[in-house]
């Protein structure tokens, strides 16, 4: 969006609008500028000649010729023709306010709509009435124009032309396109934009830039409506008030919009602007419909100041390195403002200077520029979103990779920890069991004269302990019934050696509350210890082992011992220590008739 292109377009439009006077008339076209006029109503021309008719020279501006008067007027013009014309002719009224009808030799040839109240609003609409040339004849013809207008509203008639259609139609069409079709197109465009922006804002309430833009589009749509709508929905003064108030509201909403687009906050200024935008039109409404347009034009000075402020603000913002957007907006808004100033000058000086009003062109340009800008921003933010998204994705990927790696590391550490723990346990168990037995076996070999029996017992004990360890390494070491079962043959053989019978009874599957290899080994070592003690000291001939879900009971019918007195027994102390480690109850009852040891958990 180049600022130069917008300025160029604007100048071209101004040039086009101002071409009317310079356009050369065709050879048969007659420019009408002088005749008679009288204020009167009626569907047919009033009688002529009559003293009420006054000689006039066009343009006839009612503000000057009939101040404070409105209603209808008749104009009569003489048309002298040398020869009878042929084909289609047309009456072409470039500018009439508000409406007109034309009569050729007393015959009506066309009208721009209603002339009575409410009359058609044709102040911006060129009127063009075609008629067959047969209505004209050589010599003097009469041409009557009936004009309807409001008081102090710039009503009146300007010089006009009559001639063959081929010499007038082109000019008429160009003017119609510039003044009416373009207003309709602009109106449609602005309403569409307003709806779109309003929807956008509804979805994104915090972005008030959309609301400001929607408002500016809405107000400028109302203004565009004023240019082409022949029959407004309300009375003429109210309609005039609404449309002129919309001009102020438009400029104000543009200020709001631009504040948000360049991201600055001027609360105070916006409040003052709002107050003026509300208070001004209210005051004008209270002053009454008379001279309303002029009052508005005077009040518009406030908005000229406001627009100058906005332009200066944009210019300052456009100076920076990132000011491309601001510069583009400045260009669009400058054109819009120039159109507005132009119209204001026309309104303040007079509306009868053959100058069409251009305001809606400016607002259309500005609306387009802002739309392009927002689109540009939207696309850019989409791009940014995509880039951010890609970046986020890669970061998430990296994070999850890291997480996975650290998880693997953790699992590895845990595994190492478990292996280390198990290794430590095995070493401890080997040291406590096998190591001790081997040391004591070695000690026996240092006394060669001793009997071999203790050595044999020690080695057997070492072997048994090794078996217990191997059993406890089993995958189901928590299955105490299995461990007891596996140990039975060894226990039994030790009993056999001392001549005792072993009675075996396992009710339910015993299971330790803390089911791990270490606990099982401790428990089995306790059982082994108890049997060793029985074999060594009890002289029993019957031993019974009973196991249930939460206990192991071992009884013998030996000579018994005093548990309290037997402090010197290493075996008993070991039993107590292991029971503490395991957290199980150790009960020992002993008498001369035997001993009962209960391990319960």
């Amino acid at each position: 969006m180049s600022a130069r292109a917008i300025l160029f377009l604007m100048l071209a439009l101004c040039a086009l609008a101002g071409t009317d006077a310079a356009r050369a008339d065709g050879p048969d076209t007659i420019r009408i500028a002088s005749g008679w006029a009288r204020m009167a109503g009626g569907d047919a021309p009033p009688p002529f000649p009559d003293p009420a008719w006054q000689r006039i020279q066009l343009p006839d501006d009612w503000n000057d010729s009939h101040p404070g008067m409105g209603g209808q007027a008749w104009y009569r013009f003489d048309l002298d023709l040398a020869s009878a014309p042929a084909g289609l002719w047309a009456v072409y009224l470039q500018h009439v306010s508000m409406n007109a009808a034309a009569f050729v030799n007393g015959r009506p040839v066309g009208s721009g709509g209603r002339l009575g109240e409410p009359m058609a609003n044709n102040w911006n609409r060129p009127l063009y009435f075609e008629f067959p040339a047969e209505l004209l004849h050589p010599g003097r013809n009469t041409l009557d124009i009936r004009v309807a207008g409001y008081a102090n509203d710039g009503a009146g008639l300007r010089p006009f032309r009559i001639g063959p259609t081929e010499q007038l139609r082109g000019d008429y069409r160009t003017r119609f396109g510039l003044q009416i079709t373009s207003a309709i197109v602009t109106f449609t465009l602005l309403v569409g934009l307003a709806v779109l922006m309003l929807l956008l804002w509804l979805y994104r309430r915090h972005e008030t830039v959309y609301l400001a833009f929607a408002l500016s589009c809405m107000f400028s749509a109302i203004i565009a409506l004023y240019f082409f709508l022949p029959y407004p929905p309300v009375s003429h003064p109210v309609w005039t008030w609404i449309c002129h108030s919309a001009v102020g509201a438009y400029v104000y909403s543009v200020m709001l919009l631009l504040h948000r687009l360049v991201r600055i906050r001027r609360r105070m200024l916006e409040r003052i602007g709002l107050a003026a935008t509300v208070a001004g039109p209210l005051a004008i409404a209270l002053a009454g419909p008379e001279h309303m347009v002029f009052h508005f034009a005077l009040f518009d000075i406030v908005y000229v100041l406001m627009s100058i402020y906005v332009l200066v603000m944009l210019a300052r913002h456009g100076r920076g390195p990132g000011g491309t957007e601001a510069r583009a907006m400045l260009a669009a808004l400058t054109s819009s403002a120039l159109f507005g100033y132009h119209d204001l000058l026309v309104l303040l000086l007079s509306r009868q200077q053959n100058q069409p009003l251009l305001f809606f062109w400016g607002s259309a340009l500005f609306g387009l520029a802002i739309t392009l800008l927002l689109l540009h921003r939207f696309v850019r933010s989409l791009h940014e979103y995509e880039v951010l998204n890609a970046e986020l994705n890669s970061r998430v990927e990296e994070k999850s990779r890291k997480l996975e790696a650290s998880y693997r590391q953790l699992a590895q550490l845990e595994k190492e920890q478990a292996v280390f723990g198990e290794r430590e346990r095995i070493m401890r168990d080997l040291h406590d069991g096998l190591g001790g037995y081997l040391v004591s076996a070695l000690a026996y070999t240092d006394q060669p004269h001793e009997s071999l029996q203790p050595l044999r017992d020690t080695i057997r004990a070492a072997l048994n302990d090794l078996r217990l360890m191997i059993d406890s390494l089993d995958d189901s070491a928590a299955d105490i019934a299995g461990l007891l079962g596996a140990a039975r043959e060894r226990l039994e053989s030790s009993m056999c050696l001392c001549g005792a019978a072993l009675h075996w009874h396992i009710d339910n599957e015993p299971a330790l509350p803390r089911a791990d290899a270490s606990a099982s080994l401790h428990l089995m070592r306790m059982v082994q210890e108890i049997f060793t003690n029985i074999a060594r000291h009890s002289q029993a001939d019957e031993v019974r082992l009973r196991a249930g879900r939460d206990f192991i009971e071992i009884r013998d019918n030996g000579c018994g011992f005093d548990p309290a007195a037997a402090v010197g027994g290493r075996g008993l102390a070991n039993l107590r220590k292991r029971a503490d480690v395991l957290g199980i109850n150790l009960e020992i009852e002993s008498s001369g008739a035997g001993t009962r040891i209960l391990l319960a958990w």
């Binding site: 191997i470 089993d474 007891l484 079962g485 596996a486 039975r488 043959e489 053989s493 075996w504």
Partner: protein, 223 residues
């Protein structure tokens, strides 16, 4: 040394450790019902002795200096001479014993068993029973449970009967053959027969497994 029945109960000892071998030989020699055929220390001499002497029972250690005891057990099993083998083990753990059972051994013998226990176990074998440890029993229970879960339709030839399962369960808890026969009100021989049958099922299943493995490896054509 030349009792009539004893002459048939010849035992071949295959054990590479000299002390253990001597001790086992001593145990056999002290038993009036058994007769030592030979005591050798390596795989080659064992094969030669087995072929030459045709012993009734082979006691085989697994780790021999010039071969595997498993191969020897397989050879005995496949010889068709009616000879039976026991694996010699220190711990009676399932890893060693089950491999031997799968190869066709009829039981195990702990190396440090008393002379009495050694003779008893061999006689038990000759009477049609099979020695078993609680740990091996527990392993078998688990092994068959796994096989049966994998089988779409339980086949009697390779799955355990209710009674067999019951017996294995009791053995696991350490109960002895005689106790089990009392508890279940069956004869001690019947218990032994059950165990022998379980071993056979294990062996059959192992053969099926081996065949399936061979098919998988493309060594055999399917059907």
């Amino acid at each position: 040394m030349t009792n009539e029945p004893a002459a048939t109960n010849t035992v071949l000892i295959v054990e590479d450790d000299f002390a253990t071998r001597s001790r086992l030989a001593e145990a056999i020699n002290q038993s009036p019902q058994l007769q030592l055929a030979a005591a050798v220390g390596d795989f080659r001499s064992a094969c030669a002795a087995f072929d030459r002497l045709s012993p009734r029972v082979v006691l085989a250690d697994l780790g021999l200096p010039d071969g595997s005891g498993l191969d020897l057990i397989r050879k005995v099993h496949d010889s068709g001479t009616g000879a039976e083998s026991l694996v010699l083990s220190v711990f009676g753990d399932e890893t060693h014993v089950v491999a031997a059972l799968k190869a066709g051994a009829k039981g195990y013998l702990l190396k440090d068993s008393s002379f009495e226990a050694i003779a008893d176990n061999i006689m038990l074998l000759l009477d049609g029973g099979s020695p078993i440890t609680p740990k091996v029993a527990r392993f078998l229970l688990g092994q068959f449970r796994q096989w049966e879960a994998e089988m779409p339709q339980p086949e009697a030839a390779i799955s355990l009967s209710e009674r067999e399962r019951e017996i294995l369960g009791l053995i696991t808890k350490g109960y002895k053959r005689t106790e089990i026969s009392e508890m279940l009100a069956i004869s001690g021989n019947t218990v032994g027969t059950h165990i022998k049958r379980i071993y056979e099922k294990l062996s059959v299943h192992s053969n099926i497994e081996a065949a399936a493995q061979a098919v998988k490896l493309g060594l055999l054509n399917e059907r």
